[in-house]
């Protein structure tokens, strides 16, 4: 049974939340951390409901509502909600830990603890929609989002669900940023958005975002793409990337030269970008090469932005200049492959086709 991506929603460091423009104008930063462009939450969430919501829940709600509206999906049509998140609502977790330490375990309040459960986003969306179906949350670093997509695909293919809301969300939070600076995972020097690939320095630019999609076994008029396959690998040597990608494509009956657009998770980390080079310089040197983390920043579910981008490219049939790495021409992109990894671990391959 085919799996369609019928709608998309994005809250990111770019102006993506209203989904009306496609990176025609980008926001350029010169920084080491990027915050989301905040939507007006009051347009999406009643104040009474928002009062206890963590930032991650708010951005997820906006992103999910955008996707639901675009597909014309009624809340009671959703059979399952599946979310990927590296750290959940980490802002509340950190605050709860510091409250424990600062107040010697006294006078703690439950809200922060409740929001610290990694599945609070999926749970609260279900609560808000009254959705009693399958409700899973995946928390595995850079493949959190892909795990959710894979689960959704399996449910749809087995006929266990017809419409699924799938998303990825992560928050940018001070303590997390400060500690990751200590271990060099965040760049020391600010880099300008369009120079990220050329930085030549170690570490990434950290960010946050929420990306939600409706996946269905039924194609709707709003359809963006068909999800052909998704695969994740916990470890992979740099010299194995090409071979694994080839076998992934062949398992799905696709020749490497049939891939029109390759989306690569380059984040400007001189230590690990070589993984992407192995595909860009050989197997897909004649494909349209696209990158996105200079716009979205790096976070555990940043590949959700890559997924959003792949869908958008297939539907709009254009490739924004800001994401192009080479000047290969394409008139009508049909097949998009996304490859992502983080610090040499948690690799994912996702294959999309025009619908």
């Amino acid at each position: 049974m085919p799996v369609y991506i019928n709608s998309i929603g994005s809250v990111s460091a770019q102006r993506t939340f209203d989904n009306s423009i496609f990176l025609e104008e980008i926001v350029r930063y010169t920084d080491t951390v990027l915050e989301i462009i905040t939507p007006n939450y009051k347009d999406y969430i009643p104040p009474a409901a928002a009062r206890r919501m963590a930032k991650g829940i708010k951005m997820s709600t906006v992103s999910a509502k955008t996707a639901m509206t675009e597909a014309g999906m009624e809340e009671d049509e959703i059979d399952a909600i599946i979310v990927g998140t590296g750290l959940g609502c980490i802002g509340d977790s950190e605050k709860f830990v510091s409250d424990i330490l600062d107040n010697d375990e006294q006078f703690l309040t439950p809200t922060r603890f409740i929001q610290s459960s990694h599945n609070t986003v999926a749970g609260q969306i279900a609560l808000g929609m009254g959705c009693m179906g399958h409700n899973f949350t995946y928390v595995h670093s850079a493949i959190s989002f892909e795990s959710a997509v894979l689960d959704a695909k399996m449910l749809l293919e087995n006929g266990e669900a017809k419409h699924i809301l799938v998303g990825g969300v992560d928050e940018l939070v001070d303590h997390h940023v400060n500690t990751h600076r200590l271990i060099g995972h965040i760049k020391q020097e600010p880099v300008e958005t369009m120079s990220v690939l050329k930085s030549g320095t170690k570490g990434a630019i950290f960010s946050e975002g929420a990306h939600f999609f409706t996946l269905s076994s039924e194609k709707r008029p709003s359809c963006y793409a068909e999800l052909l396959a998704v695969k994740t690998l916990n470890t992979l040597g740099e010299n194995q990337v090409s071979g694994k990608t080839r076998s992934f494509l062949s398992e799905n009956g696709i020749e490497p030269d049939a891939v029109d657009v390759i989306i690569l998770g380059y984040n400007g980390d001189a230590e690990f970008d070589g993984y992407y080079d192995t595909l860009a310089n050989a197997l897909f040197k004649d494909a349209v090469q696209v990158y996105f983390k200079h716009l979205s920043g790096e976070f555990d579910t940043a590949s959700g932005f890559g997924f959003w981008l792949g869908n958008k490219i297939l539907k709009e049939q254009t490739i924004p200049d800001a994401v192009r790495m080479n000047s290969v021409a394409t008139n009508s992109p049909k097949t998009v492959l996304i490859y992502n990894q983080y610090r040499g671990e948690n690799h994912s391959l996702t294959l999309l086709r025009k619908c």
Binding site: L108, T137, T179, T235, Q240
Partner: protein, 393 residues
Amino acid sequence: MGIISAIGNNVAENYASLIAGKKGISRISQIDTVHKDDIMVGEIADTNAVLEKQLGFAENEVSRTVLIGCIAANEAILNAGITDINDARTGMISGTTVGGMDKSEQYFYDYFDRPEVRQHITGLHAGDSTKKIAAHLGLEESFVTTISTACSSAANAIMLGARMIKSGQLDRAIVGGTDCLSKFTINGFKTLLILSDTYSSPFDEERKGLNLGEAAAYLVLESDALVQKEAKKVLGYVTGYGNANDAYHQTASSEHGDGAVLAMGKALKTAGLQPSDIDYVNAHGTATPNNDLSEGRALIRLFGKNVPEFSSTKASTGHTLAAAGGVEAVYSVLALQNDTIFPNLNYKTPMTEFDLEPITEVTKKPLRHVLSNSFGFGGNCSTLIFSKDKSLA
């Protein structure tokens, strides 16, 4: 399968404790908390130092969640007779809620002036614990992921593993969960006022809340083809599974257990079984006023007047959060293997709301199908059904 809990460091010790009616509940000794005199916990006896030595980790290299996870996963691999973990398409799916929180809370402020503890910074990722356990097992270029759906995490990991094997994506899945005790969870549950100050007593009218516990438990699921190829002995079958959302409250269960009824119903449907086929229910039974009432009502809604024999083993182990579904999966398989129902300890007074009474003594009975419930925050309700013989389902 493999397990480490407050009532034993391996499957055999856990079984011996269960049939001896032994409680693993005590005052907390390994975490320095101001609540140590107000709560009781199910703590694993071995200290980090002992576990590190046993596993070959350096001192303070990894979280306790990883240490106990490795102990249980090693036993599971050994028990399944696996010599080369990469000889089939093997995946690992682990459930955890705290991950490396034990270290994160300990070094939260220390990271800034103590470079020697910075290895724990990335441990805050729940998935980091799974990554380290998979690496310890030597699992490479494989499907490895982590599920965190609060107290149903490991049950959902088992469910995903079964579904992936069924859909032909994996030949073998190492599934279960691990969670160590932490100040984070102790204080978190404390704010919800659902921690008991004494031994927890599931399904008792006078129940005062839960005892937190720590544990890790993993099962090795394999496809029919792999089992046949390697002529393996099968301990039991995962025949049914179902997940549903209560969509009622962020932490509490609905009054009449709507999500639980749905999850149990789905599991029966996947297994192709009738309610009357279930011989024993290993209940979620946390001993909070809310859970036991909601779950009891759900059992009555599903089984009517014929609620099968049931018990909660959480009075023995404590509530081991994300690991609970794995721990109780191991106990469900042990129940099937030994045709034995394990007792629900500390039970005295029937609840006024219904006339359900758990099994309080070790009970011998031929068991074909065991149903195990795991419910969590966020309305997450999961049910697994384990069967002795696949042809019965």
